[in-house]
């Protein structure tokens, strides 16, 4: 890859965070960013400030040609081809660079969606799965934004359930074309795209992908949707009426479209999660500035405990999410390291690496979008009436961010996927959840170990709590699988609890390891806010996990069994809670002093 990151080179299995312990040195953190990464972030920020943010009103008014022009400018800077091999006009950046770009672009949701459809789900299916001829023909033009791309998976009656597509493809009698009929819905860049990656079923059965040019006969975008938010982006249906697509435009193999559809989404989810976290940090700075300037009862509202509590909670949640995001992306880069991107099968290798971390990508999608949702909502609250007024910028953000929990797989679908993927991997023997759950059973049945003593040192209690939290996941998962076997999928509420537990464990451990890593290279004093944020997150996550575990076990088990399990939950999560009010006040105070999210240097 083109940038050498400081990525730890241990290859870590996706999902293994539940059963393996990692040392701080093994994870990538925002503190490990190189000068090059910082410069990329700075370019992203300057691009937004100079080219995009001044045009938001024109974007919302759908000024003709504007989105194309902005995409061209983005391409000139290199933003459209960041993940594309150099051979096809891209930059082959490492994924840490990609998420930094996403973080900066997310300052406007409409723009982030537009660019994301171009440089992500628009180009990558072709760049990763195309034949040499397809790549040569389409990828450079998409990377330079001479052509605009779009990704057409959803339909009016099937989006979450994408494989149920009704769009049909039939081979023409002369064998030279597929004839496509159907309508794709909700297509980002639909109205401005030149090239669509369209999913359709050959003969109504074999789910397949096609590269469809707008210029082909029978292809036409429908009218722009009227949307709650991201109004500056183009979202339209795409109509295919006897559309003639040459056979050489089949992307990948007939009947294997699902491989493309789902693998591309892993990257999309990672970037959306990262973008939301970046968006949350930008928005947070606005919230802090407002809280300092706005006075009530003779004080800046930032002086009030209830406002500090909001700011502190935002810092804590962003910190954990950011830690998870950089950790995951560092692992992906570790896995991608050494892949020759100009090799014919490089795309497949890259997607395989991403698939390894599909669980983490789904986690980030859910966590990132929900953190932004929370931060936006509380920012509106801090703005008070001005948060509700369309004359101030927060109202637009509030509307814009809402879609994040809906697209790239709804958060419900992603919650189902997290647990489903973990269990499937265990069944296949790829991930040792089952033996670990078995060991846990033995441990529970055996005499209580003297584990409680443990080590001292920075965040040692928190580290013990993380270890206990991992056991909670195994306990609940083990009971659920034992009770429901294959029918667990029908117990969606429990499946979602398991995902929530996994997300909290990943967040706790990622924040903890990051803070320990920073403390090792600096001093405890310099990490005071990180330590406060980590402690607040770990203890509150433990509270959430305890209550979620009880809820799930209350359905799964009964009688003595239930009582025993609940006792085990208490034991593994035994804790002396710190004063989290004080911890969050400290985090808020630091943010108030710095005028921004305090735990990463601004670019």
């Amino acid at each position: 890859m083109a940038t050498a990151t400081a990525t730890p080179q241990t290859l870590i299995k996706g999902g293994s965070f539940l059963i393996e312990d990692r040392s701080p040195d093994e994870i990538f953190t925002p503190e490990d960013l190189t000068d090059q990464h910082r410069l990329i972030g700075q370019t992203g920020r300057e691009f937004m400030e100079q080219e995009v943010l001044p045009h938001l009103d024109e974007m919302e008014a759908k000024k003709p040609g504007l989105l194309r022009e902005l995409l061209r400018k983005a391409a000139d800077v290199g933003l459209c081809g960041s993940d594309v091999p150099q051979k096809y006009g891209g930059l082959e950046l490492d994924k840490i660079s990609s998420i930094i770009i996403s973080e900066e672009m997310a300052r406007d949701g409409a723009w982030a969606a537009t660019l994301g459809a171009q440089q992500g789900i628009g180009i990558l299916p072709i760049a990763f799965f195309g034949t040499e001829a397809q790549k040569a023909k389409y990828v450079p033009k998409l990377a330079s934004a001479e052509w605009v791309g779009a990704y057409c998976l959803s339909e009016a009656t099937s989006a979450s359930d994408a494989l149920n597509a009704k769009t049909r493809a039939v081979l023409s009698p002369d064998g030279r074309h597929y004839v496509l009929n159907g309508t794709k819905h909700w297509i980002t860049n639909g109205g401005i795209a030149d090239v669509y990656v369209v999913f359709a079923k050959v003969d109504g059965e074999k789910f397949s992908a096609f590269i469809v040019e707008r210029a082909f006969a029978g292809v036409s975008p429908g009218a722009e949707e009227h949307k709650m938010g991201i109004r500056g982006s183009s979202t339209t249906p795409v109509n295919l009426e006897n559309a003639e697509v040459p056979v050489e435009n089949v992307l990948g193999e007939v009947g294997k479209g699902h491989l493309i559809a789902f693998n591309i989404l892993n990257m999309g989810r990672l970037k959306l999660g990262a973008g939301c976290i970046g968006g949350a940090k930008h928005l947070f700075a606005e919230a802090v500035k407002w809280a300092k300037e706005r006075e009530a009862f003779g004080h800046p509202i930032a002086d009030f405990g209830l406002i500090k509590e909001k700011l502190g909670e935002m810092v804590v949640r962003i910190y954990a999410a950011e830690s998870m995001c950089y950790r995951t992306t560092g692992m992906i880069d570790g896995m991608l390291h050494g892949i020759d991107q100009s090799a014919p099968d490089a795309g497949r290798q890259i997607l395989k690496a991403l698939e390894q971390y599909a669980v983490e990508c789904s986690i980030l999608k859910v966590v990132g979008t929900e953190v932004l949702d929370f931060v936006t909502d509380e920012t509106v609250q801090i703005y008070g009436g001005y948060g509700f007024s369309s004359d101030y910028p927060i109202e637009r953000v509030y509307r814009d961010q809402r879609v994040n929990r809906i697209f790239e797989g709804t958060n419900e679908i992603n919650r189902l996927l997290i647990t489903d993927m973990l269990l499937k991997r265990s069944m296949k023997g790829e991930l040792g959840l089952i033996p670990a759950a078995q060991r846990l059973r033995d441990e529970i049945l055996g005499a209580p170990a003297f584990e409680e003593a443990g080590e001292d040192g920075l965040l040692a209690d928190e580290a013990r709590l993380v270890a206990g939290a991992k056991k909670i996941v195994l306990l609940v998962a083990g009971s659920a699988v034992q009770r429901y076997l294959q029918a667990l999928a029908d117990e969606q509420e429990i499946v979602a609890v398991l995902s929530n537990l996994c997300m909290d464990v990943y967040g706790m451990e990622s924040a903890l390891l990051r803070t320990l890593k920073k403390a090792r290279s600096t001093s405890e004093d310099e990490c005071a806010t990180e330590i406060a944020a980590t402690r607040a997150f770990v203890y509150e996550a433990a509270d959430r996990m305890e209550s979620e575990a009880r809820r799930a076990l209350g359905r799964i088990s009964e009688g003595d069994n239930l009582r025993a399990e609940l006792a085990v939950v208490r034991r593994f999560l035994r804790r002396n809670p710190p004063d989290t009010i004080e911890l969050k006040r400290a985090a808020a105070d630091r943010a108030i002093a710095l005028n921004r999210y305090p735990l990463i240097e601004p670019r």
């Binding site: 090059q36 700075q42 370019t43 290199g78 950046l93 601004p602």
Partner: protein, 259 residues
Amino acid sequence: MKIVVCLKQVPARDSLLRLNSAGTWIQETDISFEVNEPDIYALEEALRLKESQGGEVVVCSLGPARAQQAIKEALAKGADRALHLDDPAFANLDSFGIARAMAKALDAEKPDLIVTGLQSDDFGAAQTGVILAELMGLPHSTIIMAIEVQGSAIKVKRELEAGFFQFIEMSLPALLTIQSGINKPRYATLKGIMAAKNKPLKKLGMADLGLSAADLAPRQKFTRVYVPEKRSKTEFFEGGGKDVAAKLVDKLKNEARVL
């Protein structure tokens, strides 16, 4: 045309500043740094001149290891190579010391033009550029608003006070200190950022420059840095216009001593 840009890394504008324990400067841990703003305009001007005239842009920065971030930014934007003046002995130099070290490094380069920012955002002395010109025996001009190349000479527009400008024709080689806002600085492209990695960056220490600590000894020093003390006091004068005017004049003369 060979153009040298002198570029300094300074504390970022939105940093939370705290005084060091000696009370002689700010505490430099725990704050972030950025390229001095006027230097960004100087760099942009140099890159534009190179684009119109051909030649080479060399960045020169004196500072500790962290200054490499600023240097890399300049390389990413299009400078061709860099000189990094870095030596433990370079800590706490005054404008004269910095100019002296730079003069040594740049004498060997024989540039056609040296551009610096008008002043640095941290010390704000506006001295380094002009002292450097003096030490190198070059003509200089300050607060430059526009540069026009005329064969082997240049015509520059200088900002004076009260909206007046001065136009000067200068022969090359020369040194100019650039006013902020004279152009729209570019941002680095991602390609530029990647390319920066392979551009030459030469490190020069005190010995490389043939200097000794005595050569660089500061001629001025900070004895105390402090946060402006709050002394805002508003006084209201009562009475008729004439009385009030007399009182005001008296106060301004004898208390504020501004008349």
